[in-house]
């Protein structure tokens, strides 16, 4: 097997300042290969978005510090200087944000926003860059791309804006695309179209895709690998078919049950008791223990580590395959 495109080892993130400083991400390990879709799934505060932003060091600064290692295409991302980091952003790693309405500049046409990336990185002149922007808009399935390149974001529908956002990400042929909840803000009938688009792009361009989502349906439709995050850690990592067939971590199992939305014999939906912890809100024990039906004293006293088990990894003292 080829070397992974992206390799993350022991990634830890501290966010906030002063008394509010929390560890939002703890010792996260994973790999992403070309042509492969990796889904990071979790609830709010699980650290999934923090992890995505950390890969491009977008949340770095006085309010955010990282440790560990992120290797992308042989580069040590966390120690790049600002010039190399700029070159990595856009050319190596691109990102599609959840709320395209806010993430696109309201005062610039779509075409120019896409073209700018090429002007900056590839020193193209504006005319050539704009022409290529129209091609990209066509590639992402934008109807009438030449006309729409001259529109402002507010003149488009939500689905079209998200397509434009994807075209923007593709402008400089990145090897890895990170999509942070790319369909959450969209209507269901549009969501499928955008997901199908992402899938076809990954196949056609042989890119890596990291998909951040809270929706297990989206994971099932798109992903090759699944990473489940809870309270800043990966609790289970598995190939997608095995994950849905037989989840090992009780949290994964509970989430899959809850997502299938069906009434039980008592006329009630399956639930997970309690609520997700705030990021950094956990100590040196299993963060899921307070909500877990299988929790023992061991779970409340010690932290299960993420151990390989066949084709997957899991962090649990009493995994579901243990019967």
């Amino acid at each position: 097997m080829s070397a992974p495109l992206l390799s993350v080892r022991g990634l830890t993130a501290e966010l906030g300042s002063g008394a509010q400083r929390v560890t939002a991400l703890r010792a996260v390990d994973f790999d992403v290969r070309r042509g492969e879709i990796t889904a990071i799934v979790g609830e709010s505060g699980s650290g999934k978005s923090t992890a995505a932003m950390a890969l491009a060091r977008l949340n770095e600064g006085p309010q955010g510090a990282f440790s560990g290692e992120v290797r992308f295409d042989g580069m040590d991302v966390l120690s790049l200087n600002s010039r190399a980091l700029r070159s990595l952003r856009g050319q190596g790693i691109a990102m599609v944000f959840q709320d395209a309405a806010a993430a696109l500049n309201p005062c610039e046409t779509i075409g120019d926003q896409i073209a700018e990336a090429m002007v900056v990185h590839k020193a193209r002149d504006w005319r050539a860059a704009r022409a290529h922007a129209i091609e990209l808009l066509g590639e992402v399935g934008m109807p009438e791309p030449a006309r729409r390149a001259g529109l402002y974001p507010h003149e488009m529908s939500g689905g079209q804006r998200q397509r434009a956002m994807i075209a923007l990400g593709l402008a400089c042929d990145p090897a890895l695309l990170i999509a942070d909840e790319p369909t959450t803000a969209l209507d269901v009938t549009v969501q499928g179209q955008i997901l199908a688009l992402l899938k076809s792009i990954v196949a056609r361009r042989d890119m890596g895709l990291i998909l951040i989502t809270h929706d297990l349906g989206v994971v099932a439709a798109l992903a090759d690998q699944v990473l489940v995050m809870y309270a800043g850690r990966i609790v289970e990592a598995a190939p997608v078919a095995e994950f849905f067939d037989a989840p090992h971590h009780p949290y994964s199992g509970d989430m899959i049950t809850a997502a299938s939305v069906a009434l039980d014999a008592g006329g009630r939906l399956a639930t997970i008791p309690g609520r997700p912890p705030h990021s950094g809100d956990v100590g040196e024990s299993c963060a899921y223990a307070p909500r877990c039906a299988r929790a023992s004293n061991q779970c409340r006293a010690a932290l299960p580590s993420l151990e390989p088990h066949g084709t997957r990894r899991r962090a649990c003292f009493h995994p579901l395959d243990d019967a």
Binding site: E43, S44, G141, M142, P143, S157, G159, Q160, R163, D187, V188, T189, V190, Q191, G192, Q193, L195, A196, L197, K199, S200, H214, D215, L216, G217, V218, V219, A220, A221, L222, V240, A241, F244, D254, M255, I256, A258, A259, S260, V261, A262, L263, G267, R268, L269, A270, T271, I272, P273, R275, P276, R291
Partner: protein, 325 residues
């Protein structure tokens, strides 16, 4: 008394365009007829801009509307302010965003006791009643003196439910009550609503964008598109054999959490083009769904279909309904 609890006739909402006086209006809700039966859970499903929230608010006369609404036999659109205030206690609403639906300056106790006072509960009993309501929605009496900001989204939604129940309503309209909540908390709040509905014999209108969720919990489902009710019928029938092509599209759009089924959904979605909602400013003459519809004929583009009975039950507004055999 028998008959439906709510009977809506030609309920229509026009939103003013632009500011100022004498502005033109766009149709937020096309003339709609609908009955809500006593004790049922009727779900209204649609995407953003479908008019489902408008219908919910107009049904409770929270926004100006034309037409007629018979609530338990009393027509409420023509009701004066005082009589309407009397009726208000019998119909309540739960809102989508629990961060916006509770007054940030008022303690939970004050919010509840103001409502209790308004429906004539004597001062001496209010605190006990409020604490009883809190315990019914799964919160302790210690919630009473605290401000909304001390609570999580799920807890706030429980408080909002307690407020809605405080007036002792017959009808509760819940507008996307769980979509602002974390996935693992959503089911908890839905279960609470189902329990309270059963205990109190409530009639409930549950507005949602999630056909999968309401298929599981509702008795009947109404599907809205572009300000119009396009299909309504028993929940099981709608999810198994939808009659309106849009209902079918909604059904096929949500990838279920199983790999094979989700991939099939994605295949289907890849086939549909990037077509969007028609413009409110310039509504189409015929069926608003025709531009996206695989079954559309010339007549669909000319004449808007009216709701008519479907052989498998319910009503559908389509010239070429599915699953008629």
């Amino acid at each position: 008394m028998t008959g439906p609890l709510v009977q809506i006739e030609n309920l229509t909402v026009r939103y003013p365009l632009g500011g100022g006086l004498g502005a033109r209006g766009v149709l937020g809700l096309a003339p709609t007829n609908l009955e809500v039966q006593r004790g049922e859970l009727l779900a209204i499903v649609g995407e953003s801009g479908s008019g489902k929230t408008t219908l919910g608010r107009a049904m409770l006369r929270l926004i100006p509307a034309e037409g007629a609404i018979h609530f338990d036999g009393t027509e409420i659109i023509g009701l004066g302010r005082r009589e309407l205030a009397q009726m208000r206690s019998r119909m309540q609403m739960i809102f989508q965003d629990p961060y916006s639906s509770l007054n940030p300056q008022k303690t939970v106790g004050r919010t509840l006791s103001e409502v209790l006072a308004h429906v004539g509960i004597p001062r001496a009993e209010r605190r006990a009643r409020a604490e009883e309501l809190l315990s019914q929605v799964g919160l302790g009496a210690d919630a009473y003196p605290r401000l909304p900001r001390a609570f999580s989204g799920g807890q706030r939604q429980r408080i909002a439910i307690a407020r809605a129940l405080a007036t002792g309503p017959d009808l509760v309209v819940a507008d996307e009550p769980v979509s602002a909540l974390d996935v693992s908390v959503q089911a908890q709040v839905v279960n609470l609503l189902l329990d309270l509905k059963a205990e109190r014999g409530l009639t409930m209108v549950f507005i949602s964008h999630d056909l999968g969720l309401v298929s599981a919990i509702a008795d009947r489902i109404g599907v809205m598109y572009f300000g119009r009710l396009v299909e309504i019928g028993p929940a099981a029938r709608l999810s198994r054999s939808p009659a309106h092509p849009y209902t079918a599209l909604l059904n096929d759009s949500m990838p279920p959490p199983s790999v094979a089924a989700a991939r099939a959904t994605l295949e289907a979605a890849a086939q549909t083009g990037a077509v969007e909602l028609p413009s409110l400013m310039d509504p189409p003459r015929g069926c608003p769904f025709a531009p996206r519809c695989g079954h559309a004929s010339a007549s669909c583009r000319e004449t808007p279909p009216a709701l008519h009975p479907h052989p498998a039950g319910g009503l559908v507004a389509c010239h070429h309904p599915l699953n008629t055999d």
